[in-house]
Amino acid sequence: MTILSICAHGFIYGPILVVLIYNLFNHEFARKHFFWFAGTGAVWQILAAIGGFTALNQNGQTSYAFGAFWDIRLAGAAFFELNATRFLLLLIVGLVALISVLVAHQTVDFNRSSYTNLLMILVLGMNGMLLVTDLFSLYVFLEVTGLCCFIMIAMFRSRADLEGSFKYLILSELSGIFILTAIAFLMMKTGSLRYADLAGLGQRISAGSGQLEDLLVYAALILLISGFAIKTGVVPFHSWLPDAYQSADTAVSILLSGAVNKVAGVYGLMIVMQLFGDVAPVGPSLAAVGIISIIIGALLAVRQPQYKRVVAYSSVSQMGYILLALSTGTTLGLVAALAHILSHTAFKSTLFTNAAALQEQTGTLELKDLGGLENQMPVTAFTSIIAFLSTAGIPPTAGFWSKILIILALWQAGSPVLAGVALVAGILSSAYLIRLQRTVFFGQTRPELAKVREVRGSVLTAEVLLTVITLGLGLLYPYILLLLHAGGIL
């Protein structure tokens, strides 16, 4: 047992172990101490991601294959695989889970034990999505992820919760049907759904061959892209996203925006791009969806009346940037997409954590009821400004660098117009966030909010932690670029 194999198995066994152990305790005890169990699961995930990556690097390998309870050397056995990209996404999953637990410590009240169970199953689902090497297994874990999210949104049982959950369920299942149909179509051509067997399919098909299977592969690509685009929540598939984010408890919104729509949506598209990037319409269609979603998402965000809705539409817009980076299909594009995923996780989770703080302290998130809170809640105000700068891509934050990388990747791939539009669309991000700043923090304090206090405890910790990440990444980026360069990636 090497460190690497322990960490690798930890991604699979860790969450399930936490669920099993947690449910051994009696209900009251479990409810009281849910923080420690869920927190342990999240921290374990983070440690395993960091430790595993370090071990992988020291071994000088680029990937590591393993099975959970079986021997992968058997003929045709399924296997999980780890590589640098997946480690980063696993780290993000762990980080978001940790933040969510920190927030849930204050916001989630009566169904804490369900929260813990579902969080761990969700983490397992996302880990599974990230680790598998087979398109069908990807679908299975996607389903796990989605189902956990529906339940997590619905379990708070207000009208809005149930409604958001149901809308999400309907659209998400539609995407599931799309993806599954696509999988069936692909299988008609290849007879296998392993990534290794699917890669290079572009050379084996041609549109004019007159074969049904080739035609179906093209149909499958359209279905796959729209399926994962629904999961990502990009325009024109975004209608569920603001509803789900707004209705869910903030601890769950953080999970949704920070991890789920990246792992379930963007990672799926990443896989599609990796496997079928050489088929002509895949890259351009991603780019088209991306640019539309950047602009429409930001325009819609400007008009929203509720804090979390603004942030949700901002997510739509930011996902567009990630898709744009992915659409280039180059290494730089992939690095840029990952960088933006990381920075998006940090700043969007900060904004949602701020939402939790506002909700806890003022009891409302309607923008018309908030105003001038920066004297009362200085830390929240400061962290939200940093998140705002990062979202709008203003230095020295992480968001600036990732946006710059995206622009450079687009430029390298030969689409300067897209790069220009994407950059100037940054002004729209500034527009909706500056509105948010003005109505919530900047400005004169409303008299009825004069007694509001700064949030304490775990939510405050989460805010500070995320801001440190945003700023730290922003300042360390030159160093990170050097490291990537030394690693031969850039």
């Binding site: 389903e143 619905a154 409604e163 539609l174 599931g176 049907i177 599954l180 149909t181 707004q246 539409y313």
Partner: protein
């Protein structure tokens, strides 16, 4: 027009019917049923794919796994619908107007 094409067309029509159900009906449970209807077609596609590529056993395992997922989706969908029913006393999807931007 051989067997494969006929089955494909029938499957696609099933999916259209399922999507129609999601879009045009107002009953929450009915929408969940719509999902299931479309899932039937997908099951058919999977088995068909197995037969075409000669990997029927593989596609059978897929179908079995999909069925598990299908059941859980039905559970969650029904559960949420029942939850909404308890709130509104009705299963009309047009009641859902809490979330607007």
């Amino acid at each position: 027009m051989n067997l494969v094409i006929v089955l494909l067309i029938i499957g696609l029509l099933m999916i259209v019917a399922g999507c129609w159900c999601l879009m045009r009906t107002f009953h929450l449970l009915k929408m969940t049923i719509g999902i299931e209807v479309a899932m039937k077609a997908v099951t058919l596609f999977l088995v068909l794919a197995g037969r075409i590529s000669g990997k029927i056993a593989l596609s059978e395992t897929f179908v079995i796994t999909v069925m598990v997922a299908e059941v859980i989706v039905a559970v969650v969908g029904t559960g949420t619908a029942v939850g909404l029913f308890r709130k509104y006393g009705s299963m009309d999807v047009r009641n859902l107007k809490q979330l607007k931007g």
